[in-house]
């Protein structure tokens, strides 16, 4: 439906019937894509709250409960590897999207699975890190570092996990032949969520692990 052909009757102007399938929108962007961008925008405020909390309490342990410090606990090389893996998962995600957009469903599934696998590896790395810290004497309740670190990265990890499930469902749908090229937007939307979660990690990794603590 390009130009609206206005049919005038004695009842006043009426619009022609909507074409099936393509839904014209006022802004020219699809409903679902607009929806996910709005949601991601709100997630910025959600993660922002926890990141702001982290920054507020950074360094306070020296004055109060003491306990394990980040420099005692962090294994930067290890976390760099897991961060690298998450970063690469963004690449595989966008390759998956490119695949379905050109109609290559086999490649789509390969890259979707790769993304999910990288995500799982990242989560595995997080879990390993958490248990190492716990064994090193850092619990949720130990001090401010324990509280803010575990909750912020835990919530991020929960988001990654939900993303992995989403990807696997997409993979399953594609395997069943229910994800045609015409529905590539479904992959795009999952991708937007996935990239966002990756971006949040870019910030968390930099702010929490890399920035020197005084």
């Amino acid at each position: 439906m390009a130009q609206a052909v206005v049919a005038t009757t004695e009842h006043g102007a009426v619009a022609p019937a909507d074409a099936h399938g393509t839904h014209a929108t006022n802004t020219g962007v699809s409903n679902a894509k607009l929806g996910i961008w709005l949601f991601l925008s709100s997630e910025a405020l959600f993660f922002g709250a926890f990141i702001a909390t982290y920054f507020l309490y950074r360094g306070r342990d020296a004055q109060f409960l003491k306990g394990p410090k980040p420099s005692d606990m962090f294994n930067i090389p290890f976390t760099s590897v897991t961060s690298f893996i998450l970063l690469m998962s963004s690449l595989t995600m966008v390759l998956a999207l490119a695949a379905i957009q050109r109609g290559d469903h086999r490649q789509l599934r390969v890259w979707l699975l790769a993304t999910a696998l990288f995500g799982l590896t990242f989560i595995g790395g997080q879990l390993f890190e958490f248990t190492e810290f716990y064994r090193g004497g850092l619990k949720l309740s130990t001090n401010m570092f324990g509280t803010t670190f575990f909750v912020l990265t835990g919530i991020h990890g929960a988001h990654v996990t939900m993303g992995i499930v989403w990807l696997l469902v997409l993979w399953g749908r594609s395997s069943g032949g229910h994800l045609p090229q015409a529905k590539s937007e479904a992959v795009e939307i999952a991708g937007l969520y996935w990239h966002f979660v990756d971006i949040v990690w870019i910030f968390i990794f930099t702010a929490i692990y890399l920035i020197p603590q005084h």
């Binding site: 609206a4 802004t27 910025a44 963004s90 971006i199």
Partner: protein, 134 residues
Amino acid sequence: MTHQGTDLEVVEPKGEVEAEQVALPPAEAVDQIPATAGVQVHPGPRQYVLIGIVLVVITAFEVAASYLEGDVNSNLIILFLGVAAAVKFFLVCSWYMHMKQDAPFFRRVFLVGLVGATIVYGIALTTFAATLLK
């Protein structure tokens, strides 16, 4: 043949009655666009991998920088890390999330949340600075 992302907007037909010019993309770009409705002109796999490599390189530099604590002024390190994170953010957003190629509307929507969060939480944090400094 990969096609560089441009600012072309292949808009869905708008609903306005007043004869709104629907922007038609140039012929060569049309050939690149898959049959799915509303799909913009996107970079190809080669571009994506290239960006992936850039991201990894930046991360490597970031990690290296974190080990310079003590040797280099920590404010400098923080500045570098901040810039590096911002660049990575920009790359993933613009290219992987297609923000560069898609409708500017998405960019604005996302920025509202991002900028809003920074300002609002930033203000909250400064009030603590005030009490801490007293």
